[in-house]
Symmetry: D2
Subunit: 351 residues, 4 copies
């Protein structure tokens, strides 16, 4: 068994990590860390998980090196930056779910994460990316930084255009729509149920740092290119799940058939990316309800011939494929397990 530690145990991603580790045949929960809930049992923090792990939340010190083989950091970016510095050379594997080490380019990092101090040396040691695109680099990687929930969907949606078709994407405009669990738990009036139940809330109308992350990553890719990439993000009244719509203008020529083939070919063998065909029934295109609770990302690319654009849709569960599930997926690759180990749960529909 691989001994896993979860830091940030009281948050949504922390709880989801514990849920997935509980269901995982090769991972065992060996440490739960945090600062705000020290001394409490996981079952107290997450009432769905009424299991006695024999553990309580503890502060993180370098001593945890003896207890764990892998530490998942489900902490805010500033805390992750500190914890990673503490643990990087002590624990065999550190997997960070925050934004602290996502953006490689220093100026871009400072632009989007002005409050997150990190050393460039440490940042350079992290492997960043959606597992499907950086799989080889994850094997035995000691330090892994995972994309944000939106960035995962956008990147998986755009990658076949640049990496498979080699297109130059002149303008990409992303409209992201997500549920109320996307932003974590904050005690704000606007996040109370009465003000989210009927809301379509433009919470980041003119920019979102996940767009910076995607642009930074795709700029380093071997083929294709991305010119302008802008993003706006909206909260809609569900809890789990997001959909990204990437509206792409390219000078290259494509048609629907080419798109469909390229996406199918690119994701052939990728168990967690499902290319939708649009001629299917009931839910013909990516829709987060069809991936709820699972590690799937559903994608499709549609050619809007009249509009001269490509519409790329990607849906995922922000707490699974957008956070904890993707982290477990990365850990599986890191430790040489089959990629889907512990992640074979199917989506819960309807819910």
């Amino acid at each position: 068994m691989i001994r896993a530690g979860v830091v940030g145990a009281s948050g949504l991603a922390g709880g989801e990590l514990i849920r997935l580790i509980t269901q995982h045949p090769e991972l065992e929960l060996a440490f739960v860390g945090g600062s705000s809930s020290v001394g409490r049992r996981p079952a107290e923090l997450h009432p769905n998980l009424r299991i006695d792990f024999g553990l309580t939340v503890q502060p993180v010190t370098e001593d945890i090196a003896d207890q764990v083989d892998v530490v998942f950091l489900a902490t805010p970016a500033p805390a992750s930056a500190e914890l990673a510095a503490l643990l990087a050379d002590r624990v065999p594997s550190v997997i960070d779910l925050s934004g602290a080490f996502r953006i490689r380019t220093p100026e871009l990092h400072r632009r989007w994460y002005p409050k997150v101090d990190r050393s460039t040396e440490l940042a350079d040691r992290f492997v960043y990316g959606v597992p499907e695109l950086v799989r080889d680099q994850l094997v035995d990687a000691p330090l892994i930084s995972l994309p944000g929930c939106y960035a995962t969907a956008i990147t998986l949606g755009l990658a076949p255009l640049t990496l498979e078709l080699g297109l130059d994407l002149r303008t990409v405009l992303v409209d992201g729509k997500s549920g109320s669990s996307g932003g974590g738990l904050h005690l704000r009036t606007a996040d109370l149920h009465p003000f989210r139940n009927n809301a379509i809330t433009p919470y980041s109308p003119t920019g979102h740092r996940h767009a910076g992350e995607v642009a930074d990553f795709l700029a380093r890719a071997k083929s294709g290119s991305v010119g302008s990439l802008t993003m706006s993000a909206y909260g809609v009244p569900l809890v789990r799940g997001l959909l990204t719509s990437s509206y792409v203008f390219t000078d290259g020529t494509v048609d629907q058939r080419t798109l469909q083939r390229a996406y199918t070919r690119f994701y052939k063998g990728d168990r967690f990316v499902r290319v939708r065909r649009h001629d299917e029934t009931l839910i013909p295109v990516p829709d987060p309800q069809a991936v709820l609770g699972s590690n799937y990302c559903d994608v499709t690319a549609l050619h809007d011939e009249e509009g001269g654009r490509i519409v790329v849709l990607a849906a995922l569960d922000n707490l699974v494929k957008g956070a904890a599930g993707q982290a477990v997926q990365a850990a599986n690759i890191r430790f040489g397990l089959p990629e889907e180990t512990g992640l074979t749960m199917q989506p819960v529909l309807p819910a």
Copy 2:
């Protein structure tokens, strides 16, 4: 009292018209028409409205000319086309809420409404437009065609850019998000509660006929221009309300201050358009929850300097300002009443 008839009485817009007429001091419900619910009382069809109007649903014949001063057609476009032909020269005022007469350009009409036969002569007699923009033409107008719910929001959002600032909008990309009442009542599995409660459904991902309507209208405007206008539309899990995000790329130079001033100036005196400032609290930008049940359309324009674009947001209640409320507003202007007569109800928040 002005005697009003509502045709399509069993639908959502029909029910909303009856609700608003009930609250209106100068309109009286004199006729309810329809084909599927003949003989039934309005209160049976709309359980919120348990009022005895002394009326039952009747088929529409030319005889209704004696009973009404104005007829609201809350019928599907093909039915509206037929009914308008029947009633145009018999009833003093016909106000159509469908798409039958919205698009003036015949080719564009056929492109988006291939099944709606109408005579071009009749179509040319209709005044079309958001009341705020065609107010003068509505006075005494016998035939009025009202914009679709999305088109109303998009047009009110973009109008200050073209009509006030005179900008040429090179590329406009609209992302529309709406609740489950937007598409009417259809007995389809996908529209049952279990499949809408957690959905973000791309139901028109590569185009929507309301975009054609807006483009056709703005093309005839006196100043500014619109190049490419594309649209994608999504269903989100609320019932009432929509938000349109119009992403605008223009060669003209603007900044946030210019935008804010132009919008405020353009809508000065317009009671039903509220320009948001973005520095307000709790719900700082247009969000349909803040207009629910009312005839308001909230708009704001944000300059995304880094992204080189303008983000225009507009929110409204699709059954009120997007349908029945706007129809009553048009009727008020048509009959010389103060524009807000019977429409002074404030939004119901939270709900």
Copy 3:
């Protein structure tokens, strides 16, 4: 115009009072009071109400006697107790929406409101009750205490059994179900959208003080009696609206026809109580969605012959008929206006 003050302006009931006063032809908003939001404009606190009243929130002092004819206290019970003592002999009319003065029997008051100090003398001066049942006492009443939202529904549901039919209700068991606005705005994790969206939460499983209020009131009624009255309350995932199910065991003999006639007769002429018939369509029994945003309370009584019980259902909008609307209704009676003045808005359905 009657000059109205609203204290507790930042809360949900306060906002709803401002909404209703805005729509009222005879009330004008003359004062907004509070302690937590001093200096802020109503429109900042309630983004639906973007109206400039020329007022900001002020602390309450005895000086407000010059500014208002009626003060609505939409404050927590302890604050209401203090404010009522301050204003009772200074302002012509004080209408309290809290629980401070609802229960007359001192021991029962202490049992349910142990933290609310009030003088028995002052309490005895308040008229308490649902307007439909204490209408005569409200005329010119200087001090009015309104029932809680649940108590309103339960009382209107049970009154025809005791007051009209003179039944002795041996055992009454109330199961109350309400939306998330029922408990006010509290910054608690359990009230965040993610933890209410899929919840059926037994928040008062073994007792609720509104039951004490109802029992205390009915015990003083002229006919019929109530033996044991117990209550359990649940939160369900909507925002506005509640339904009370009162399961009644009585030794008296009734049948469905008798019940239906008694309810219809008892509420004849009461504009805001709608007796449902159960043979109607679409929404045949009381359901809060059919009263949303309105001052209606829908009631029905069903005879369960096999089970030997009467099932009484009552639905209302907790912020309107359960709070602000009922307060305006009481004020209308108090000042000799037609009872429905300013309250003629019809329910918003669907929403």
Copy 4:
């Protein structure tokens, strides 16, 4: 591998069975049957399950005896009655999820299922009950009838009172609250999203056949008794999950400590029943959100000393523990597998 057939493949319970079989290490999907969707692949019917099983929906004939070891009937009761008659002596194991064989007493069966013809001989061969209570009888049982979703919750909630404490329950009044998936998929206006989003719908206000099922079962129990058992059922605006509140009046003496101990003792070792303690945090009592997607039933019993009653709460996911999960649990016992095989998924919270 045990070869499983699912009949009624297009329904909600059918889809859930396929989901759970997919996740089960010892069950393999060998047949999918139905009448309305013949020829279609499971993935077309259930867009969450985009898996190629190499199967399409087929009509059920006696030939399926060669293909399956167990058949799950997720069909309406009349179809189940027919299919069971056809398959009872041909297939090693038939597990029926409908109401066809739940009620043993013939008169009671006819009272609640007047349209379901079945032979009493066949009915008597079925083992009926919640697996936790009839476990021994399930081993090698060829014919199994599973309780309804509500009946499962009510029975698990009441069983410790009668079977462990031996109490005579004079009066039991059940108030059931469930999500929109509870009634299956019906193309009715009242089930469309707009009319469920804000609803608290009394759909069975004066009686529910699941109460008959529970009474019939408990009447045959070895200890304790149930006098009057009545039920009312309500739809609330979530999709998955139900809560039953059983209000119990008994002449026996109990206190909270006795109750808590009895429940804990009775369910010791039962993996899928979790006794809540009420002093826990965040979600202290049974709430369906804390069991979503899992096979758990959370129960608690609270002593309302002042009211002289016991309040028993039970929550479960109606499609899992209330249907498909319980069916798999029964199959596990039937075939000698560990009871939790394939059912170890933890609840998805928040969702």
